[in-house]
Symmetry: C2
Subunit: 478 residues, 2 copies
């Protein structure tokens, strides 16, 4: 049993410090190093373009009936793989009793949702090169990416992947994460994925260091955090899995404090989690209210939210040469934004304790704004998401960060959002956030990413971007 999780912690005879302060210094040095030892940042684009050309990779939409190993299960209508592995599309029924005592305004809806109980590994391998931590990033094709190939972690593997020998190159690298060297783990935490599209999905976010010689492989390059920070300012380049793993790195916090102490922040969060009463029940996909099934898509009756679709994939560099699969295709570009504001000279961001049906536990900390504006266009302004208009109408001078990033291309088709950090100066928000919102520092969010299920995946992406602002070309919010 122990072979998969590293040796048990045997026979210790001495203690070590609980915190490795040197680690934070090494992270800081890597973040400050904008010239990598192996590849110039400006050459990353050429390398990615070259890898894109090197692989035959074609994605076509197909009707459901052309899915070959997938079928709609008799009775439930759930969309399942014939092996019972990978994932399934089923339905969920969410009833949310909000308000002071669970008896306030009520939401009640049904929707398709991805069921994927297995915990996958998202792992980035680190190595000190010329005295600076570099990270092994992969040029990886995913069928749902608008540009197919993006910069991804060293390893992204479902349990189905890494328990079976597919013969892919990254299968060997997965051993660094399946059997991590206990003395070289930099970060290792289970984090949630999109609660609007997945039911209780977690992935294991890992950064592990090695001193081994790693063979040079065409699809892999070593980059510093400073280089990755610069790349995070480009659209559709650093994939979601890379962003969430990067957000879990133990950056140091050099600020003198925060508007709320850590105990106050945790207490506020506990209050929010207690206040929300979200009950979720799995229901057969065939019975999901408000959605309709066609030959090519399952979609919302008013065309909102997302569609379930199917694609056929041909690829030369994957473990298998071709396959078909379902994907979730969101409707329209998302907007994901933190309002940022200096309090007492320390940058803060406005987090939202957001309930999503698929979360393991009621709420997680989300960005100030997280929505697809198209889903709310039919509503009167007062019913639209708070701060959406403030973000959309912000002049260029108040935008501290922006880039369009893609969500996970293995499950989502062309799922893209504009991620922003927008200066709140001049908006009322800075003065008096409504219930469910709080001003916290990036340092506090970084401390929370040591633990699972505090920050949702969109907040983790924005945290990685904010880390990149600080470390990257322009300096910035934190």
């Amino acid at each position: 049993m122990s072979s998969c999780i590293g040796p048990p912690p045997a026979a210790p005879t001495a203690v070590r410090p609980r915190e490795d302060r040197e680690q934070a210094e090494r992270i800081a040095l890597s973040a400050a190093t904008r010239h990598g030892a192996h590849l110039r940042t400006e050459d990353v684009h050429a390398w990615l373009a070259e890898r894109r050309r090197a692989h035959v990779f074609q994605v076509d939409r197909v009707p459901f009936e052309e899915l070959d190993a997938w079928r709609f299960e008799r009775g439930t209508g759930n969309l399942v793989h014939r092996s019972g592995r990978f994932f399934a599309v089923e339905g969920m029924h969410v009833v949310e009793h909000d308000g002071p005592y669970g008896d306030g305004p009520r939401r009640d809806w049904q929707q398709p949702v991805i069921i994927q109980s297995e915990v996958g590994i998202l792992g980035i391998l680190g190595k000190e090169i010329d005295g600076v931590l570099h990270f092994l990033m992969q040029a990886k094709m995913e069928p749902g990416n608008i540009n197919l190939l993006q910069l991804s972690p060293t390893v992204q593997a479902t349990r189905s992947n890494y328990t079976r020998a597919h013969g892919g190159t990254d299968v060997k690298l997965v051993d660094y994460f399946v059997r991590p060297d206990r003395d070289r783990v930099i970060a290792d935490v289970l984090q949630s994925e999109q609660g609007a599209w997945f039911l209780r999905k977690s992935n294991r976010n890992m950064v592990v260091e090695t001193a081994d010689d790693i063979p040079a492989l065409d699809d892999f390059r070593w980059l510093t955090l400073g280089q990755i920070a610069e790349l995070l300012h480009h659209d559709d380049l650093v994939n979601m899995n890379a962003r969430t793993v990067l957000s879990c790195l133990p950056y140091r916090d050099t600020t003198p404090g925060a508007a709320l102490s850590d105990v106050q922040l945790l207490s506020w969060f506990t209050g929010e989690r207690s206040r929300h009463d979200v009950r979720v029940r799995r229901v057969p996909l065939a019975s999901v209210r408000g959605w309709k099934q066609g030959a090519d898509a399952i979609e919302h009756e008013e065309g909102r939210h997302f569609r379930v679709v199917a694609v056929s994939v041909k690829a030369g560099n994957r473990e298998v040469a071709g396959w078909t699969q379902p994907l979730i295709e969101p409707v329209g570009l998302g907007i994901v934004a933190f309002l940022v504001h200096d309090i007492g000279g320390v940058p803060h961001v406005l987090v939202h304790a957001r309930a999503e049906g698929g979360f393991l536990d009621t709420v997680e900390l989300a960005p100030t704004v997280q929505c697809a504006p198209g889903n709310h266009a039919h509503l009167p302004p007062a019913d639209r998401p708070p701060f959406l208009d403030a973000v959309l109408s912000a002049p260029r001078s108040r935008i501290r960060y922006q880039a369009v990033h893609s969500e996970e291309g293995g499950r989502f088709l062309h799922a893209r959002s504009r991620y922003l950090a927008v200066d709140a100066d001049g908006t009322r928000a800075a003065l008096d956030p409504p219930p469910g919102y709080a001003w916290v520092t990036p340092g506090q969010l970084r401390a929370l990413t040591r633990h699972g299920h505090y920050l949702n995946v969109e907040a983790r992406t924005l945290l990685a971007c904010i880390n990149a602002m600080a470390a990257g070309p322009g300096g910035g919010a934190a």
Copy 2:
């Protein structure tokens, strides 16, 4: 919406330190203070005996048909309250795929389980008296307690309790926790309850300070942590809710380190949580395999684990004068123990990453041993729980702590366990713990109780006891 959770964090203009180091000193002072300002520790027993006499309180077992507001729901056989509130007894079906990749030894069982989705509040009010923090403890009757009345938190309230005016005295005190003063919160965290008996139950564990004059009430007394530590050495005196709240206090850690750094500990825990694949499904109580229903009890076919029973309660000092309700009655006295061992001069305890069907997420950290020995008596020694025999056969000289404590008397009938801390010197365990076990310091466990769902409720009780060893009469492990 904000009225129940305190004012929103409005208009901050300055930062404060993230950690309040002074708080840990105040906790340490209270723990070192063995003479309370209001009541001598040796007089606590007389006060409790007096309160026991002051209240008419009688508990009788009754057949299910004498339950007045409860019924077995048609079709499912679930045991429910006619209001739909409080809790219900349903069934759960647990399938656990353990082993390296979720494909190892397999467990599959069904059992009755308590469903209680509402988050309750367990709150202890603190106040500085003569320069020392005191905590307001309540002499509270609960029908399942073998001695009926035990020392409990200031407030233990289900949402159903505190959203309705029952007119009870502690209803006024609940306001300190429903609307906590943000500047006076000492601890506030959602923690799990017994995963073997509850499905995904969390309670909000809170310690909040006040400077208000609190009227003297017959059922309430102010005690220091040093006094409570001494009381924790008595059987059936400090109730489970008090113990779990006390375990969340921010004690300082003065040790130089630990066998595993915090990152290593978190990585090991993440590995354990990822390794276990536990899937739980609610099933109708009437269909639960391996259990049989009689007129007085629902019990396991081999008489193991627990019984679901019913009681009639008459009380003079409760919000309502009398009621009937179901309770869970475990079979036999439990054994809950930490092996303790000094590593590099620092006390450590051997934690077990334990899967329980009712946990929100696969495993939590549990004591080294946690079982009712009677449930395993029919098994050959090799199949009995690891370390059980080592604990049961430990000579008196190796027992650093022991007391019998009761589990929650509002849900469990005569559910008692012997809690122990046993010196591991001389056992093989100290040298080479098996997979799923790790040596950690009490300081590390205290840091983890700031967050939910790391320590199970039995481990939190033992942590409170270990804190009491350090602070209490004999000195001790940590």
